[in-house]
Amino acid sequence: MSTAVTEAPSFLDRYPAGSILPQEGMDQPTWVVSRDVLADVARDLRDDPSTEFDLLLDVCGVDYPDREERFEAVYHLYSLPRNERLRLKVPLTEEDPTLPSLIPVWKAADWFEREAYDMFGFRFEGHPNLRRILTHDAFQGHPLRKDYDATRRWILTEDKIYRPKLQVPEDVADDMFERMTINIGPSHPAMHGTFRVVAELDGETIVASEVEIGYLHRCFEKMCETHTWQHVIPYTDRLNYCSSFINNVGYCRTVEKMLGIEPPPKAVWARTILSEFSRIMDHCVCNGSTLVDAGALTNFWYYFQPREEIYGLLEACSGARLTVSYGRIGGLSQDLPPDFEARCRRLLEIIPPFIDDVEQLIDKNGIWHKRAVGTAAISAEDAVNWGWTGPCLRASGVGYDVRKARPYDLYDTVEWEVPVFHGGDVYDRYRVRNAEIRQSLSIIRQLLDRGMPEGRHIVDDPHVALPPKEACYNQMESMIYHFKLIMDGILVPPGERYDMVEGANGELGFYIVSDGSSKPYRIKVRPPCFPIFSTFSDLIEGASVSDVIVTLGGLNVIAGELER
């Protein structure tokens, strides 16, 4: 593994003894950091040439009511130049859960800290806008604390609705023109779900804005804690519902790693292929809807036909088009259909002409250029600091892709490349997705040429996977296992793990803590579009109202995943 964090970097000497303690036996290097030195350590970790942790992936809390220091704030860091990961844990007491805000170091901390405040009541000192983010303003208590009763309900009344007071820049505030505050969303057809942007307009230019999310919050993480490990899978479908199979894979892989099992080759093979098909589907939806928002309706049809065909494949495999629930811990829920390869080959024939048509139609279209080139441009430095990952980051010139940086499944056995564009604007986000569709097709083609591996679709381990139905009907032992597994569920050994897959819009991470019981102790999803959307307010300031729509489409923000 890495050198920088396992061999202590030089700046550690500057901190008092005992304020930074490496924790052994973890899936990735872990430091327990005292909150007094957290801000300095974070800055050193980012700036020191021996560490260079430039990407803050995730901030979350974990509640351990039995411990003396009840809470733990957990930070996940990633170093792009070094391809290393680090986890920081900050113990906090119940009486005084305060810690310094890390916004000056990583801007990505902004919304993540608000979420940790919302869910656990951590107070981040120095945070400019420490409000609830996922729950509403009349909400009482902090839902992810273990002593919070999941059945409680809070009603938001009109007088408690948050009305932002926007700070208008001085040069705009002084001029004589009248300004107007408008709500874009939450129920606006171009807002792709339920986002609310409160924008202060000077003419048609946005001078200040605030983004409000949480309209689709359904407390995924609390619900996971009340269900068994297998029951979480249908919930993960509803994270990024445009590519639900990738969520299944991400979750199942993390739990499989915790269990120490390997899915059989056939399942891995099918997972890789279907993940790539899901990615194609997601990119089709994103580009198609961006273009239709910009007025280019025809492309929408060209993009949606491949998606429709892929839904057919997923339905033939899993029995559902959108919420597939096809992954299982240890493999897949059912064997692949007999005509799986033929169907995949057919899709490989069908999809490229549609993408070609779109590119011929729109790539050099001057109207699309005027809408997209230079719109909501962000530099690589900024994008990394804001915690971006995925196609949006690759459109800004950073070729970070989990499939290359830490290959999983079969990605290291096929030849493909990470498309990188350097404009950082809506146009390059569109182009990077088209290029990725072609790469995904190439991956699928290579895997199909290799042929389907023989064997089962799920591990042959009665403690993890249900026995085949025939065995369950005819053998006593299998019947007992069947009952045991459904009544008690899978028992995952105690421990914690952060594992990630490349979701369709960035690094999809699952941070899972298990206490050895049949239910997860804590599941934190690192939704890729959460840090991306937190930048939105900055991206649209100074732009016009019509740019808001195109920008939002190009970012591929999925409400189900953003608000969980």
Binding site: L80, P81, N83, W106, H227, H231, P234, Y235, E308, E315, A316, C317, G319, A320, T323, S325, S333, Q334, D335, P337, D357, Q360, D363, N365, G366, I367, H369, V373, G374, A377, I378, S379, A380, E381, D382, N385, W386, S396, G397, V398, G399, Y400, A405, V420, H422, G423, G424, D425, Y427, D428, L466, K469, Y473, H482, F483, I486, M487, T535, D538, L539
Partner: protein, 230 residues
């Protein structure tokens, strides 16, 4: 545009307008390559590529006109044919005598992530069968159609159809009871959905499948002949 965190790479105009971002040299992940900022050619500034785009739509128009490449379905007259794994409306299968196969073991209710199955068990009059469900209700508005109940059932008592026409006028109607689940819209083989044995699978299973369908067809006759008890 936001202010960059580390100022050396600030691009106030945005990368597309001015200079592209210059990645730090010692940054392997940044893929430093020479980038030409996008400059539209004269033709592009005259919107000539629109004609090329138009050719695409015209080609599609004529192809659709003469070759009939249809991508749409005349729903509701024509319907999409779903696979034999489709997870639609549930069916409670029956014994040859028309009574419910379910033995009220509660595995489906336990394995339901949405907690939408409600069962009340009762003693079965037949001594050889221990229990049967007095009440078996599925709340279709809660159900997420994940198929976990079918996976859990050790008796093949609950299977799914490929019926997705589920619309209700009231919330009460959405709670579907035992009788309606046992007398579903179809016992048609083609319209059965997710169930433990798929017809497309190999010969061994095809034999088992015939047995399974014998049960279904027997139940079908029964259901037509006499209304199910209770």
């Amino acid at each position: 545009m936001s202010q960059p965190s580390r100022e050396p790479h600030a691009h106030p105009e945005g990368p597309a307008g001015g200079q592209p971002p210059i990645p730090p040299a010692a940054h392997p992940a940044y893929h430093p390559t020479a980038v030409e900022p996008y400059r539209p050619s004269l033709g592009e500034r005259l919107y000539l590529p629109l004609l090329a785009g138009m050719m695409v739509t015209i080609r599609h128009f004529f192809r659709n006109l003469f070759h009939g490449a249809e991508y749409t379905i005349d729903y509701p007259e024509a319907r999409r044919q779903y696979s034999h794994r489709y997870r639609g409306h549930h069916i409670l299968t029956t014994r040859p005598d028309g009574s419910v196969r379910c033995v009220a073991c509660f595995l489906c209710a336990t394995n339901c992530p949405a907690e939408c199955i409600h069962i009340e068990a009762a003693e079965h009059p037949d001594e050889n069968i221990e229990k049967f469900p007095e009440v078996y209700e599925i709340d279709m508005l809660r159900c997420v159609f994940c198929g976990y109940c079918v996976d859990a059932c050790p008796e093949e008592a609950i299977i799914m159809s490929n019926n997705y026409d589920m619309a209700y006028f009231t919330r009460e109607q959405s709670v579907v009871g035992k009788v309606d689940l046992m007398r579903p819209f179809t016992f048609d083989e083609d319209r059965l959905g997710y169930r433990p044995r798929f017809p497309e699978e190999d010969a061994l299973r095809a034999k088992m499948r015939r047995e399974a369908f014998d049960l279904v067809s027997a139940a079908k006759q029964q259901a037509q002949a006499v209304p199910p008890p209770d």
